[in-house]
């Protein structure tokens, strides 16, 4: 279980978040641009420090301002999929996925077996030698997921994992993503702008407004938040007459 209770002064407002995510639960974090969603993920991942508070993962304290403890990002064992995927451009697909195992000093044989398993499961084995920058958007997303999952993380953080894909590919990926995450059996936080992501992927959702949790609820409730998210609703209504058979889901 992930427990977060942190405060951080940002430029225009204070980020004050208190929430918990159970094992195998997918929490969707929704909100406008600049409301602190990515900052929250970075704080949990150890890439930024909060001003005060406490973060615990499976009972392990990874940050506590009172005890002055902060586990560095590299020791937190958190799988993080960045919005841009951040695949290392000078490495092949294989080396990108193997990176987390190499930093953990796995043997070459172990790395070979594990990477093959994950790449085959993601349908990427055939393109293992391709440079990570030369593959399609959907493949990049799956490489980023495989890279985050292969280290067997204790927590998954996904920052708008579908935003770099076209609308048709997003629809295909939602179900796949939900199944993959549930199979990992770890807590997961996904940041998104899109209410369709919330409805199709999430178990629970939080609406973040200017650094504070404005609304909480189960994923099915999010449609009633439409009035709180005018931008999301607007973009949704523009996409509404789509041909992806998703109108019912949204």
């Amino acid at each position: 279980m992930l427990e977060i209770d942190i405060r951080k002064r940002l430029r225009d407002f204070s980020l004050e978040v208190k929430l918990s995510v159970a094992r195998s639960e997918i929490l969707m974090l929704v909100g406008d641009n600049g409301c602190g969603k990515t900052t929250l993920l970075n704080i949990v991942a150890g890439l930024q420090d909060p001003d005060a508070g406490r973060i615990a993962l499976d009972g392990r304290l990874i940050y506590d301002s009172v005890l002055k403890t902060s586990t560095p990002a590299e020791a937190r064992n958190i799988g993080y999929v960045f919005q841009s995927y951040a695949l290392f451009p000078h490495m092949s697909v294989y080396d990108n996925v193997a990176f987390g195992l190499r930093t953990r000093s796995y043997s070459k044989n172990e790395i070979g077996l594990l990477v093959k398993d994950y790449l085959e499961a993601a349908g990427l084995w055939e393109i293992r030698k391709a440079k990570a920058v030369d593959v399609s958007g959907g493949q990049k997303q799956r490489i980023a997921m495989a890279r985050a999952l292969i280290i067997e993380p204790d927590l998954l953080l996904l920052d708008e994992p579908l935003s770099a894909l076209d609308v048709r590919r997003q629809a295909q990926m939602r179900k796949e993503l939900r199944e993959t995450i549930h199979a990992c059996n770890v807590p997961c936080i996904i940041v998104t702008h899109d209410l369709r992501d919330v409805a199709c992927i999430g178990d629970r959702a939080c609406l973040l407004e200017k650094g504070k949790i404005a609304l909480k609820g189960c994923a099915e409730d999010v449609m009633s938040w439409g009035a709180c998210l005018p931008q999301v609703e607007k973009s949704k209504s523009q996409d509404a007459p789509n041909d992806f058979g998703e109108a019912g889901a949204t």
Binding site: N42, E74, A75, P89, F99, T103
Partner: protein
């Protein structure tokens, strides 16, 4: 108005001839003549500029026939200068890369007290006249210099040695590498560093396995520029290291010395330096173009 409407097709399209005629009416013949004159003027300016740069280079080759150049290659002055220049420039480049890479990274990634001052200090040798750099080095590390005074007491003498040549070259060429490396590090997206760290890589591992390889083309370009600057260094070297054949007389110094005696030797060395300069420009351009293509691919 009526005729205009008649020329518009059933779907609102206009004929190509109509559009061309309309354009001629708008531009008019005098405008076209002006445009051509402008183009001719620009072409002339370009040709003059190219001639201004190319003529001295061509003159070098014309004034020094190939057989004379080849014969001069066996001259001890040429051999010593060439060997010394290549050795010192290589050592300088390695020193600048080892010393400059962490400095460039810190400058690109971190904010600290006095950063502006430190960055200005790093860039200073670019605008400082080389002769001034030579005097500055002399008063710092010369026998009577503020540091050299103590070193001399320990029996260490730097000025007028090969080490002084290297120090002068490092002083003037380091900004060329550090500036380029700083820009290359700034271009590396922070997301790559963050991704590496969440995957369990320490900062040092991330630096060597992620940041350096991504910034590599820029770093190589910078190193080549520093090497070229070292190879052509004259002012600071002659002031701080003197002009002793085989010890401190690099190629530019040998050209200067030979000019007063054997012009063939001078021309031979000049041609070698021109060839090196061409190679450097070609390498930098190739690497920069490859990097642009790679980024475009992203």
């Amino acid at each position: 108005m009526a005729s205009n409407q008649a020329d518009i097709g059933p779907f609102g399209e206009r004929s190509l001839t109509e559009l061309v005629n309309q354009e001629h009416e708008i531009i008019g013949i005098p405008s076209r003549t002006r445009e051509m004159a402008l183009k001719a003027g620009l072409a002339l300016m370009l040709m003059l500029a190219m001639a201004f740069i190319a003529l001295p280079v061509v003159a070098l080759f014309l004034k020094s026939p190939l057989d004379t150049t080849l014969r001069s290659l066996h001259d001890p002055v040429v051999i010593d200068a060439l060997r010394l220049s290549l050795t010192t420039s290589t050592i300088t480049t390695i020193t600048v890369v080892i010393m400059g890479t962490p400095i460039a990274y810190v400058s690109a990634r971190f904010q600290y007290f006095g950063k502006e001052l430190a960055d200005s200090l790093i860039d200073l040798p670019v605008i400082m006249p080389p002769a001034v750099a030579g005097i500055a080095l002399l008063v710092a590390f010369g026998r009577m210099g503020i540091v050299g005074h103590y070193l001399n007491g320990l029996g260490i003498s730097i000025a007028f040695t090969t080490l002084a040549v290297i120090m002068a070259q490092v002083f003037v060429s380091s900004p060329f590498y550090i500036r380029q490396a700083r820009t290359s590090f700034e271009d590396v997206d922070m997301a790559f560093e963050n991704a590496a760290r969440t995957l369990g890589a320490s900062r040092v591992y991330t630096f060597f396995h992620v940041i350096i390889p991504i910034a590599m083309n820029g770093l190589i370009s910078g190193a080549i520029m520093a090497f070229a600057r070292s190879l052509g260094e004259f002012g600071a070297t002659i002031m701080f290291a003197g002009n002793f054949q085989g010890r401190t007389q690099t190629m530019p110094l040998a050209i200067y010395t030979a000019m007063q005696g054997d012009l063939d030797v001078s021309l031979c060395l000049a041609i070698i330096l021109v060839a090196f300069s061409f190679m450097v420009i070609f390498l930098v351009k190739t690497l920069t173009r490859r990097r642009v293509h790679k980024n475009a691919g992203n």
